[in-house]
């Protein structure tokens, strides 16, 4: 019996970790090009509300997913413009995105507050693989977004670490002046990757409402997982596969209440369980910065600094 509890918990962790993985992958792409995107939480909410409305109207969850990703990408153009063209403080700009995104999402979501989404994403177990004992249940009995996330992580890892364009992106994040001299268009690279982060965070937000939460709960729909995703990038030392692993780990923390209940533990206040993922994230950040310098080595050197050619 305890075996199946473990398996169910791990399977739930993969599901709960998927929006985190998508958002963290987005934040990672933006940061690799040198732009900090703290707006993830707001972008996820914009993606989530758009996905709700689009899926509700069309009756198709995948239309909702696409709409959510596109809305996230479009919304993030604001951040790209402010940070790259207008040389704004990236931290404050990201916060502005969170506040505006929360405002827009709760404005548009007000009429459907508390309503469940009818067109939810249904599971698509992979034939054959899902019958494999243990692993089949944990990894291969989910929906298309879970599998799609693996593909995206693999593609991103290959793109960033194995292709010429990926090398150019990393050059822009490490030393934009050098990249500029090499003939790389710094602003264009940064625009592309900041907007990509919006597409992914928007998709992550969409997945939350399409598959994770039972109903639209305004800002409580994402409830801060966008911030955990940003912390995950540090945890993953800016590497895609580690971000995926970290996302599943934090997914397990998000489902801790489920696991404890299933294991027969009672009497822990719901609020205490709810704060667990946030405390765990803080603890991990503290331990990381206390234990080694790898976290600093992994960070793109030009992260957070606007690039101005004639002002170096």
């Amino acid at each position: 019996v305890s075996d199946s509890v473990v398996i169910l918990t791990l399977a739930a962790a993969v599901g709960a970790g998927t929006p985190l993985a998508l958002a963290a992958l987005g934040a990672l792409l933006s940061e690799r090009s040198g732009v900090l995107n703290l707006g993830i939480e707001g972008i996820m909410l914009v993606g989530a509300v758009t996905a709700f409305l689009a899926a509700d109207a069309s009756g198709r969850p995948l239309v909702g997913l696409a709409a959510g990703a596109l809305a996230g990408g479009a919304f993030t153009v604001l951040h790209a413009f402010l940070c790259i063209t207008m040389r704004a403080n990236q931290i404050v700009s990201g916060l502005a995105l969170v506040i505006l995104g929360t405002g827009v999402a709760t404005f548009l979501g007000q009429p459907v507050e508390g309503q469940p989404l009818s067109a939810r994403l249904s599971g698509t177990p992979i034939p054959g693989l899902s019958e494999v004992p243990v692993l089949g249940r944990i990894l291969f009995s989910h929906d298309v977004v879970v599998y799609g996330t693996w593909v995206l992580v693999a593609l991103t890892a290959f793109y960033l670490l194995r292709t010429r364009t990926g090398l150019a992106v990393r050059a822009v994040g490490e030393s934009p002046a050098t990249a500029d001299v090499m003939g790389i268009r710094v602003a264009a690279v940064r625009y592309a990757h900041v907007i990509a982060s919006g597409l992914l965070a928007g998709a992550g937000g969409a997945y939350v409402i399409l598959a994770r939460v039972p109903a639209w709960a305004q800002a409580g729909t994402t409830n801060g997982i966008g911030w955990i995703a940003i912390a995950l990038v540090v945890f993953a030392s800016w590497r895609p596969w580690r971000a995926l692993a970290g996302a599943y780990l934090f997914g397990a923390a998000l489902r801790a209440n489920f696991a404890l209940q299933a294991a027969g533990v009672r009497g822990i206040p719901a609020e205490l369980l709810a704060m667990l993922p946030y405390l765990l994230t803080i603890l991990v950040l503290l331990v990381l910065s206390a234990s080694d310098v790898r976290q600093r080595l992994g960070a793109p050197a030009a992260l957070g600094v606007p690039y101005v050619r004639d002002e170096r």
């Binding site: 703290l38 604001l78 413009f81 402010l82 207008m86 040389r87 704004a88 403080n89 931290i91 404050v92 700009s93 916060l95 502005a96 995105l97 969170v98 506040i99 505006l100 995104g101 929360t102 405002g103 827009v104 999402a105 709760t106 404005f107 548009l108 007000q110 002046a177 001299v181 409830n223 801060g224 911030w227 955990i228 940003i230 912390a231 540090v234 206040p269 719901a270 609020e271 205490l272 709810a274 704060m275 946030y278 405390l279 994230t281 803080i282 950040l285 503290l286 990381l288 910065s289 206390a290 600093r296 957070g304 600094v305 606007p306 101005v308 050619r309 004639d310 002002e311 170096r312």
Partner: protein, 397 residues
């Protein structure tokens, strides 16, 4: 389009040698107007009448005596959370946990008032309550502050994540347990226990304006003096402008980080104490969770992190927040309350864009000048590297 592109490429952005004083006022005002236009378009697209909404906003918050009083009540916590953000952000310490520090300040203030409010004479009970709030806020930033000072952990995410933890703590105390904070008489609809009258802040005449406003204004003035006129403020400014320069000057970065962040947390905690002792007279988890801490960051940014400018900006945004609930009950319109959040978020975005025009000027480049511009780039590449740290620090701000 290509003609426009070519024209745009002729625009050169040059750093201003000094900030023009008029721009510091004009740019935020234009940002607010631009945000109003943006929100008007959004309202029109979602089937609301923007003019009607704005007229109602003016009436509810700015043009009547009642309205102005309500706006000032809403502005009181915003002055303090605005100062909390301003004092940290001004020195490039990004405490975005003002929201949680406000909650914990409120919890501490309510706790202190309930514990000792009956036993102490009025003024002392008020003092203990308010101080407890400041200490509560300080305690909530302590871990991010110490981690930043000693381990170099970025305070951004740690301070932010604690907002969620604080919210759950507050809910637990009132909704999730039979704690001393909970009104024992409320069984079906749990609410906070009323604090003793002695611990409540005095009110101005028959209005809801309370002593907290005076405290907030005095704190703003004091902070301005500390930052601009004292040795402490000087070391903070040196650190904020260039941590490297501060190190050479023998300024302890750890001490600056710790003192500034703890002060920031105390200010946000004070805002929470004010809401408990001046407004709700109890720990009210729903009524506190309005995003006052986040809005404080907008106040600070719009005030360009100047403590004195925080006062008028807080009044303006206080009016916007105050109007939200009234708009929802607008007959036949029912504009979602979130219009306030949207509007404040848009104001911040436009103010950030406007910063470029405060710090830089745009100049049309002479087409013949292209060659000399290229030379400049080369010169910059091979120029002296000393001061690069200071320059990039300046750009980042």
């Amino acid at each position: 389009v290509s003609g426009l592109g070519a024209r745009l490429r002729q625009v050169r952005i040059e750093r201003r040698d000094r900030v023009h004083p008029a721009l510091v006022v004009v740019v935020p005002l234009v940002s607010v107007l631009a945000a109003l236009l943006f929100a008007a378009a959004f309202l029109a697209l979602t089937g609301h009448d923007p003019l009607r909404v704005y007229r109602e906003m003016l009436r509810v918050s700015f043009t009547t005596g009642y309205g102005i009083a309500d706006t000032l009540v809403s502005a009181t916590p915003l002055v303090l959370t605005g100062l909390a953000a301003a004092v940290a952000f001004r020195f490039r310490l990004y405490n975005i946990g003002g929201e949680g520090q406000l909650y914990v300040g409120a919890i501490a203030a309510a706790g202190a008032a309930i514990a000792v409010g009956e036993a102490l004479p009025g003024p002392l009970a008020v003092l203990v309550t308010v101080l407890a709030g400041a200490l509560g806020g300080m305690a909530w930033i302590a871990v991010p502050a110490i981690a930043r000072a000693w381990l170099g952990t970025s305070e951004i995410i740690t301070s932010l994540l604690l907002n969620y933890v604080a919210l759950f703590v507050m809910r637990y105390l009132v909704f999730g347990s039979r704690s001393p904070w909970r009104d024992p008489a409320s069984t079906t609809f749990p609410q906070g226990r009323r604090i003793p009258d002695a611990a409540e802040l005095a009110r101005l005449g028959t209005t809801r304006i309370h002593l907290g406003l005076l405290v907030a204004v005095v704190v703003a003035l004091a902070l301005y003096v500390v930052i601009t006129r004292t040795r402490w403020g000087f070391t903070w400014r040196v650190y904020g402008d260039s941590p490297a320069a501060a190190r050479y000057a023998g300024i302890s970065a750890r001490r600056v980080v710790l003192v500034v962040l703890l002060l920031s947390g105390a200010l946000a905690g004070l805002a929470g104490a004010g809401e408990v002792a001046g407004r709700a007279a109890r720990l009210d988890p729903q009524g506190l969770a309005l995003g006052l801490g986040y809005t404080g960051i907008i106040v600070a940014a719009l005030a360009r992190y100047n403590p004195l400018a925080v006062l008028p900006v807080a009044a303006l945004l206080g009016g916007v927040l105050n109007a939200g609930p009234a708009l929802q009950s607008l007959p036949g319109a029912r504009v979602p309350v979130a219009i306030s959040t949207m509007l404040t978020g848009a104001i911040l975005l436009f103010a950030l864009a406007g910063e470029l025009f405060v710090r830089y000027r745009l100049r049309l480049r002479d087409p013949d000048d292209a060659a000399s511009a290229a030379e400049e780039v080369l010169a910059a590449d091979h120029g002296p590297t000393a001061g690069v740290g200071a320059t990039s620090a300046e750009v980042e701000r």
